[in-house]
Assembly symmetry: C2
Homo-oligomer: 185 residues x 2
């Protein structure tokens, strides 16, 4: 299992880290020992609106080698959903088994064409923006429509992480990880 975490300027870091932290414990806890991931960026670096910057491990590399792409949200998505170069890069993930987003990351999956005929969710303030990109907007915290998995606003990222732990390992592992991070959402 090889994951591509997508980062970009104007990201909300909690959208990324909320899912990253529980999923990473699948590796350190040896529940999914072959789990690998990259932090993938289309630009040289990525910072949030406050300037906090995470170092990407891959820059402008095609995404077709991954089993899953995970796209966080943030104010940057509002422009990126119309950025044809960026979307061209995201579309290299067309054959990835899992297409996953958090918060307004679903606007990127949508603009790339990955949500056509899918049920999906997003930040509760952006349901109307998501509508034209998908079949149906749901208000659940995590929506899985045939391995296209979208999560709601910001802290729903942790719920998504625990959901993926259940999907890729099992309920007991997910519950143990939930306890370790003391999450009660």
């Amino acid at each position: 299992m090889n994951l591509a975490y997508i980062i970009f300027n104007g990201i909300t870091w909690l959208d990324l880290i909320g899912v990253y932290e529980p999923v990473s414990k699948l590796k350190s806890g040896k529940h999914l020992p072959d789990l690998e991931w990259d932090i993938c960026c289309f630009t040289e670096s990525a910072a949030d609106i406050y300037g906090l910057s995470v170092k990407p491990s891959k820059i402008k590399m095609p995404l077709d080698q991954y089993d899953a792409i995970i796209v966080p949200g943030g104010s940057g998505t509002r422009q990126l959903q119309y950025d044809s170069e960026f979307l061209g890069w995201i579309r290299t993930a067309v054959d990835c088994k899992y297409k996953i987003s958090i918060c307004t990351g679903s606007l990127i999956l949508g603009a790339a064409g990955f949500l056509r005929d899918k049920k999906a969710t997003t930040n509760f303030q952006e349901y109307d923006t998501l509508k034209p990109y998908c079949r149906e907007v749901l208000t659940d915290r995590v929506v899985n429509d045939e391995n296209t998995i979208t999560a709601g606003a910001v802290s729903a990222s942790i719920d998504l992480g625990l959901y993926l732990c259940k999907l890729w390992a099992n309920s007991e592992v997910s519950e143990n990880i939930r306890r370790r991070i003391d999450y009660h959402g």
Copy 2:
């Protein structure tokens, strides 16, 4: 209000980002317009056990210029609590008004001598480790003993962030930020 977020090798990024995200909204929402912060590191860079690396804005700079230090946890704290050079740097924060930690970050505050005569908390698996450093270990998610503020395991970082929003702005602002990040912990 000027904050020093402390980062180090072996950090748990959710401990940092959980408090960072709500507190940053005090600035972007203009509730605390003079809020500033640095990402402070004693080494050239800091990564978690999986290699994810955040860029520090200050390296080895004394911490006495800040109103608050915020120390996340992570496996790295187990060694750092005995690292006299690192602790010497942390002790430059002795006169900072607020001394704040998340999860096992309290072991660093404790080893620096900042928890003597204080009630404090930490990761639920490390209550015994914290005992010798403080007056009393509590099991609450957030403990404030005269501006020495400690939080419990990992996701308690978000509770801490919302607590600081209440302390530094007010309950209404904190509640609005909680809604925006859709947190129900």
